[in-house]
Every structure is written in structure tokens, then in C-alpha cells.
Chain length 138, copies 6
């Protein structure tokens, strides 16, 4: 059993803001992250797949395929976007890194888990160099 990881990257704007709360409460709970006119981050995304190497290729999964998949299904949707306004699968959700990692899992798991020898294992998402989350699907 091998764990193979690919790193991809995107930039996005967001704010932490509940429309059902007053501006005061949003600022009290979310601090600077509630800035009305948004702020943003360079997000680093690490996708880990777990599986057994194919006897012919020595690969758990083809990294060219994995990179293309992440770019097409995730990075295209998020890069240079506003997580609160521009991203269909985040609409109506808090734009926290926690929620974003779980949504990325939901997108990638069915694409990767069709292969007989490997499964999506982990989504690791850096919001800044000092803050990151990991999600293992449950």
C-alpha cells in the first residue's frame, strides 16, 4: 500500500460572513476575516491517493492523469474566483477552509475511486503557510 500525493495551487478571494448575522456579530466572531470587501489567499492543495502500484507501470495512479483531474475538476472552479460568489458548490456554505476541503473531497473521490487499485485518501489544504486542514473523508 503506497500513498501518493500531488500538489496543485489556486488563488481565491473569500470572506467569513453569515448573512443571517449582523455586521457586528460577524466581526465579533470572524474578526478580520469578515472584512466586507473580501480578502484572499494563495491556497496550496495536496491530494493523496492510497493504493497498490500497478505491476506494469509501478504507478499507484498516473500522476499526469491525477494532475489533470485536479486542475479540471477543482482548480478551474476555484482559481482567481470568489469562494462566496463564484463557486457553485460553495454557495450557501461558510467559505471556511474546513468546508472547502470537504467539498473538494466530494468532487474528487468518485473520479478516483473508479480505479480498482486505488482510493482517494486525503485532502490537505493550506490557506496560509501557518494554517491548514486535512480531511480523510469521514
Amino acid at each position: 500500500m503506497i500513498y501518493l500525493t500531488r500538489k496543485e495551487h489556486f488563488n481565491a478571494a473569500h470572506k467569513l460572513w453569515r448573512p443571517d448575522w449582523s455586521a457586528e456579530k460577524n466581526e465579533e466572531v470572524f474578526g478580520k476575516c469578515a472584512n466586507a470587501n473580501w480578502h484572499g489567499h494563495n491556497f496550496d492543495l495536496y491530494v493523496t491517493v492510497k493504493g497498490t502500484p500497478d505491476p506494469d507501470t509501478g504507478f499507484v495512479i498516473d500522476l499526469k492523469f491525477l494532475s489533470k483531474l485536479i486542475k479540471e475538476k477543482v482548480v478551474e472552479e476555484l482559481d482567481h474566483k470568489n469562494l462566496n460568489m463564484d463557486v457553485p458548490f460553495m454557495l450557501g456554505k461558510m467559505a471556511s477552509t474546513e468546508n472547502l476541503a470537504m467539498e473538494i473531497w466530494k468532487i474528487l473521490a468518485p473520479e478516483i475511486n473508479v480505479f480498482p487499485n486505488c482510493k482517494l485518501y486525503k485532502i490537505k489544504l493550506y490557506e496560509t503557510e501557518r494554517n491548514f486542514v486535512e480531511y480523510l473523508g469521514e
Copy 2:
């Protein structure tokens, strides 16, 4: 003559957009950076001061002072802000990394150049790990 550098950090949203251009022209020139609803970055800021060490302290400049100065005069103005909307000294300017580095110079140079033994030497500003600008004041 010693060059001393302090790194600070801020996160911000911006877009590259000229209001006197059509949406089509903005997108043609600025590509994804023209996304109407903004995007954002983790900016790394390196401020370099050039001078001679003080004989008493061995310091070109007190790093605690330099860090506090950058935080109060620059990071406070930019962190978790929208560079196009929230930052007085960027209003009416293209929110490019080039312009931002030059404005940071204008803020910090008069604060640092009052010291007899040192001068502001360089502003280095990373927009992403792959893109950065440097400005030496002229």
C-alpha cells in the same frame, strides 16, 4: 555597509481592472486576474534597510522597531483588505504588485531615512511563490 531584511506578511483581495475599459477589454488584457468578484493572495513582504552597524548595539536598525513599523504603517493597512476598495493609498491606481511595492516604499522611506546611519534600500513583494517584484526607490 550592511543590508538587513525583515519579512512580514499580509493577505488581501484584489482584481486587475480598469473602470474606463469594457469588461471584454479588461478580460482580454488581464485574463483571470480581471475576475469581477475579485481573487486574492498571501503576500510576503521583505523590507531591506542599508546602513552601518551602531557601535553600541551592533545593529543597523532595531529589528523590533522595524517589524513594528512595517506592521503599523503597512500591514495594518493591507491585511485582510481589498486592495482596490479598502486601501486609501491604492485608490484610483491599478492594484498591480508593481504599484503596491512602490506605494509601500513611499510609506516606509520617510520613517526609516530619519535615522542617521541607515536608509531604506529595497521593497520585495511576493504575490505568489512564483511571482515577485523588487523596488529600490528609483
Copy 3:
């Protein structure tokens, strides 16, 4: 279940030295780390909390709270200190990275585990870019 990590930083001096051993034996076992007059490191500390996101905020734990907690309870005690002489909870213990990580766990676990939806999951402590330890509490 989400794993959320915050990175903090401190600088400290230490030496690896048993007072009940001769200088020769200390040097034989600990090599350069037994230098009588100390040496030091930039320590990078990663604290990982495991839990379920709060439905209101999308947070496992408030990162502002977590950062403040680590700074007040751990970094304040260790930063710019001598691990053998200045740190009450390390007195009488070998100042190894292993022991330091376990002591940091003991300090943070009761502060974090009071929250109903999250628990301290891991302490990861870098002594240098090439050496680090991880402790999961048992």
C-alpha cells in the same frame, strides 16, 4: 472529522547533558549537542486539532483562539529561553525534542479538550529543517 493545524514559532537554547554523567560520557553520547555553553535552534511548532466543524461558523476551532492559546501557554514559556534552565516544566528532564513535544501536549490538551467538538490530535515539533518529532498523546 477534520484535522486543523496551526504553526507557531520560537527560538531557544539548550544542551543535551546529564549532570549525573561525566563530561566525557556526555560528549560520547550526545556529541556536539553536549556543548557545555549551549547551542540553539529555531523551533517550528505545528499543533493539530481534530474535530467536526461547527455548523454556525464552519470552524473546528477558532484559529485566532488556537493561535493565542499556543502563544500564551507555550511560546511565551519557551521563546528566547534556555530549555535546561529557564523553563519550569523542563527542569530535571533531558531537553530533547521528544520530551519537549510531550510536555507541550500536556499543556495544550486540557485547554483544547474542553470543547465538545474537538480534541488535540498531534504536536509536531521541528528542531531543524531536517529533524522533527510528532506526538499523538500516547
Copy 4:
């Protein structure tokens, strides 16, 4: 139980190529990695040992010993080498990062597992900053 990690480094050439396949099939499957005249990487190797700290030293394993072991048994065999041609334990195998990590495990596990208080826990091998694999021995 503590997990202790040491990072070492080597540079090597390789290609992904099956001699029992045509050049066309190799290129179709392995893309640029099948370049006939090789390409290469700076590999970063992280070796993680799991164990209980020794009461006398506070060490899970002596890092000087662990570093020397990895250098003598692994880095010496791989550094500035061609993984397909120069490395006895890779002959006849696909020179994928997956296979290389598993072979490194086979070399290091018996050397580390002789100690009563610790066991080899993980081999983590970076091929590039964006691609890495992990192997836990089964």
C-alpha cells in the same frame, strides 16, 4: 510513542521505460518521463521511526546514528546515480518513486528494527516539490 523523522537528500537520473514495450508504447504511457536519454531529480527522503524515548537520553533513536545509517545504506547507493542502470536493488524494476520508496524500506527496516524500543514507521520520498509518495511497510 513518539515519531521521529530525519531528512536526507540525493540526486539521481532515471527514466520510466519498459524494455518489453515499444518506444511508442513507452512514450504513450510514460510521456516525457520516457525520454530515452534520461532525466533526473533532486530527491528528498524523510525516514520516520516510531518508538518510546530512552529514559537515559530522551531519544527514540540517536539522530546521528539514524543520519549515518541512511547515508551509508541508501544515499551512497543512490546519490549521483542512474536509478535504472547503477543501483543493484532497482535493476529489473520500474524506476518509479513508488518502487524506490519500497526498496528503501526493505533496506532500512532490518537495521532499525533491531532496537528494542523503536521500529521503522514511514518512508516519505519527494521526487519533486509537487509529487511525493509514502510507504508504511505494508
Copy 5:
């Protein structure tokens, strides 16, 4: 005057070897870098352009253009290649990082210096995290 830098990346095999020298002399002078069957590196390439921001765009040079230029003219020629055998502009030259940086300058300078407001300023090329060269064109 602003200095703007773009980072790109390639992987390649090479050896340091003079065909007019004996194997012994090659090994004596170049050490492990003379390994007959090659070795390789992950090269990080930083291209710095110096100029004045365009009044319309705030750009010294369009980063999308600069990135595309480096990829098409340099990275395409070098990525997943053997610097001694596969790269026309390196044939007959020592495959040292110094020579490679100077050749990359020769390729990029005429493409960038056609713009009225900017000039190529520096090529910085990392062979490993610990070794890099810089070339300013003279």
C-alpha cells in the same frame, strides 16, 4: 524602475564530463558529478525583468506572456531532457549550471528586450536548494 521575477521549473539529467579527458581525470575533477550513466536535478529558474510599469496596466511586463515565453523557449527545450545529449544549444559545452544560465540568457534576452519599457535583468538558476548561479548578461 521595477524588477519583476517569474519562477519556472524543469527536471533534467546531466553529467560533468570532458570527452577529451580520461575517465580518471574526469572523476578526479568532477567527482560524483562525472558518474558515467548521468545523474539529475530539479532545476528552479527565476527570470528577472527590469523596467518601468506601463501606465495603462501597471505592468512592467505581462506575467502571462513572460511565463509562456519561458515555457516555450526554455522549459520545453530542457524539461525531462539530458543536458549533454538532447539540448541543441548545450551540445559541445560543459553542462554546468553556469553555462546553462548563460545560454538561457542568450535565448530570452532578444525576446524580452524588444519591449521599449523593459529589459532582461537576471537569470537565477537553482541546481539544488544549496547551489545556485546568477547571470546578469555580462
Copy 6:
């Protein structure tokens, strides 16, 4: 003219402290850096040599020689030492990063400047990831 840089590393303890000042004044001026029992850092040292590549080797300077020189003349003197107490060339000087960089220059310049085709160009010394100094010899 090529600039070639080699990175080396050492760990050391120090404090910023003038014995001719009171403890109060030391603390007022140097803050936490005046901790009586020392603190310490992982120092990263970048040595840059400027010169013309040798026609036979393509080298400005042999990196194996440069690395060995830095290790023998500088790292051996500083690694796992106390900068205030254990290092002959720092005795009686403020143990600031500025002063340390200038002393390293004095040691390395005569060793490198004997070569006809190259000269020491720069000492860059990181005290932390956020603080570093550069010295160009005048």
C-alpha cells in the same frame, strides 16, 4: 561574470548583552534577545562568489572546494557553539547577525580571493526565516 552561491548551515546559542551596561539597560535595548541564559537559532549561511567560468570545467569555483572551505573555516567554528563564549573571533563583540556576517567575510575573503578568476561577493546570513543580513565587504 557569474555569481555562484553555496548554502551551508549551523546552529548556535547567543545573547545580545553588553557587560558594561546594567541588566535593566540590556533588557530595555535588546528585549528578549538579552535573556541571561541565552537563546539560539538555526543559521542559514549563503556564500556568493563572483567570477568567470573556467574554460576547462565551466566552473566559477569548484563547489566541492567551496563547501569544504565554508565547513572547515566557518561552520566548524560556529556549529553547536555559543557565539558569545566559544568563538574566538566573536569574543568582545556584540553577537549580532550583522557582526557575525562581517567576521565570516573576513575569514572567507582571503581564502577565495587567491583564485585569479573569482572573488568573494556576498555573505547572506539568516538568523530566522524572517530576519537576515547581507554583507558585500564594504
